[in-house]
Subunit: 412 residues, 2 copies
């Protein structure tokens, strides 16, 4: 008999955003005239900027000519894009990288899901809680996460609670862990980590021979200059961290599919006999075997966000979303809600009133105000008691949603 | 210590096409004025057809407007493309599929590499030999392939030799195997499988509870109407086969990145306790976790090849390549070489003269005629004694290469 990979069967059948969509659809069927506003899923709404559209036109034209046609590109991505990334995202912050430490991908989700292939199935992993579900699910699929308990926790995963008490930056683990997933600015809490705090994690990793998978997908939303955009701003991080970037939220590329991953050459993992193996060539081998490069058009589109016009246009859209975020923060706070994040990230993490659990609050808000949020518990056990709002809507819709929440909250 | 996935360390450091590139570069350094023509790597050379370029322009424009902007698409791909595929590639052949049996991807390489995640690590696998290296390497990375021996064979892989004697369709295995990889029209041999032969494989799979991973990436090159374009033309295949398609060779999408995979709902694998688990929802779960959909622009580009103009234009390019192929076949045969394939596929598999091994022949052809081929042994042990030529060049370059081979062969 061909046997199924039974680790898949341990995964819950339901996927957070599919569950939300189902509940929202059920509501719409019962209330066909209601105008539901979603502040739930983290997808952008504003169009691609003109510089990007122009670059896509140019690339499409090139591909239609004998001289300009490009077939298979380098699995690791074109130099034109890797150079633009290095020059704009790293060198100005004093971070020097070799071009072949930069791997272009089709979005950060693929790489954050696939990166665990590089490490043995029995490494221990620790995650912040709440957390982006992909980190755990991708480990569960290969058996590394163990079994999922009744309490929603996986047996082989160390959960590091992030809550108001610790400012949403978890305590350093009191024992050693092989691999740690960190995401800052954080999804879902919208909170950030200071250089000083991040340094503690890098030092922990260096002392404990731990690898940090650092997800920086939201770094473009940082408004406070003292907050690190990259873990490589911390000395020593080249020896212990892989970093994931995305153009999805930076430039509205959720439908265009392009991002990048940094795998420094100084980063090694051990064999059972203690030899050190650099992970950079292993990731290159992985990509050459199971990936065939990112669309040429998407790579030219990404390059365009680093032009002077592109930079300006992309910043304008980020500012637009951050105006939503600030408006949401002030309104929700004025209504008496306890809110976190939202200052250097497009997410607001809101404490829900006593007496609600997060799915209960979600349903009440949907039926009472026709506004969709994301129940915090969907991101992990420590997410219970919170909901996530996203700032990716239009101004008008977002303000309308806030008005409705205000009216509804006075009645609750 | 964070431990490395040591299965990666069993992989050879060298990758076939990287080795070839290195040798070609060494030659060019020594002979800077030589005009080297490559009939080696399987990449296309002709530009995207006008219908595709137009569709990309339209999609780029849409993405630049509020009304037309699309963010995250469905992980499984947009219905517009899945409907076009169903209507054009399957219904006319009497194959009925549900839309959610079709998964759009960013090229067949990703899915042929990732599909093995669905089955247990200890399933037995069988591959045709020679073979596209991704099938084995992706299994090796998770330990399923075992260890690589001195003879180039992996210890847990069953090799099914394809040679002139068996018409490049291997014998049915004499014992049961959990998973079999088949690729027809075949890369690298360019040979095809008849319906009658394919039926034997489907029957074997049904009787032995075997899953067939069927790579149909080259089906658009089939000229003979009796040759199957899809394994689902065979009754029962829905219960035992997953099929991979690509637009890379069909429409020159090697740089655009789009293809699709069929996972029928009738296909199941077993748990250790004998329960049957359908693989379709598992693949959907895999894609939702580790993939975020294919670029919207690439999907619109793919849709365009199914329009009347698109079909005509794509066929013209395929005919162009097949003219190369026929010319190559007749010339090489007239020179006395034994050639296979090339009639329903863009690859010619040529027996090399006695006294050469395939790397030796490769080097002689490079230095003697400044023409690049691919050494057959790079595709597996049974590839020794052969080289692969591809028909993806320009007419002029291909004819020039043939002239040089003719002159050179008279001297050898």
């Amino acid at each position: 008999m061909a046997l199924v990979n039974d680790h898949f069967l341990k995964l819950p059948n339901n996927y957070l955003f599919a569950d939300i969509a189902k509940k929202v659809n059920a509501f719409k069927v019962m209330h066909p005239k209601a105008d539901v506003i979603s502040l739930g899923i983290g997808d952008v709404t504003q169009p691609l900027c003109p510089a990007v559209v122009e670059a896509m036109h140019k690339a499409a034209d090139e591909m239609g000519t004998f001289e300009g046609f490009r077939g298979y590109g380098p699995e690791q991505g074109y130099d034109f894009l890797r150079e633009a990334i290095l020059k704009n995202d790293f060198l100005p912050r004093g971070i020097h990288l070799d071009l072949d430490e930069i791997f272009i991908n089709d979005g950060a989700k693929s790489d954050t899901g696939n990166i665990q292939e590089l490490i043995r199935w029995d490494n221990s992993i620790a995650v912040t809680d709440p957390i982006y579900p992909v980190y755990i699910d991708s480990n569960a699929m290969i058996g590394r996460a163990g079994l999922k308990g009744e309490d929603g926790r996986w047996s082989n995963v160390i959960y590091m609670p992030c809550n108001a008490k610790n400012g949403f930056v978890p305590e350093i683990p009191d024992r050693r862990v092989d691999v740690i997933y960190l995401c800052y600015p954080n999804n879902p809490t919208g909170t950030v980590i200071s250089k000083e705090e991040l340094r503690k994690w890098v030092n922990y990793a260096l002392h404990n021979d731990t690898i940090i998978f650092y997800d920086a997908a939201y770094q473009a939303y940082i408004q406070d200059d003292t907050i690190p955009h990259s873990i490589y701003e911390i000395r020593g991080a080249r020896k212990c961290a892989i970093e994931f970037h995305s153009f999805s939220k930076t430039a509205g590329f959720t439908g265009v599919r392009c991002g990048y991953t940094i795998v420094p050459k100084d980063l090694t993992a051990a064999t059972l006999t203690g030899e050190r193996v650099p992970l950079n060539p292993l990731w290159y081998r992985r990509q050459c075997t199971k990936f065939n490069g990112t669309s040429y058009i998407s790579q030219r589109a990404a390059e365009a966000i680093y032009t002077p016009e592109g930079k300006e246009q992309v910043k304008a859209t980020i500012d637009y979303y951050m105006q939503n975020s600030h408006k949401m923060l002030s309104t929700l706070r004025s209504l008496g809600f306890e809110c976190y994040g939202g200052e250097n990230a497009p997410y607001i993490w809101m404490r829900i009133p006593d007496g609600f659990d997060s799915w209960h609050f979600f349903e009440n808000l949907l039926y009472g105000a026709n506004v969709v949020c994301t129940p915090g518990v969907g991101f992990g056990p420590s997410g219970e008691g919170y909901v996530r709002f996203t700032a990716f809507g239009n101004h008008e819709k977002t303000e309308e949603a806030l008005d409705r929440i205000a009216k509804w909250s006075r009645k609750v």
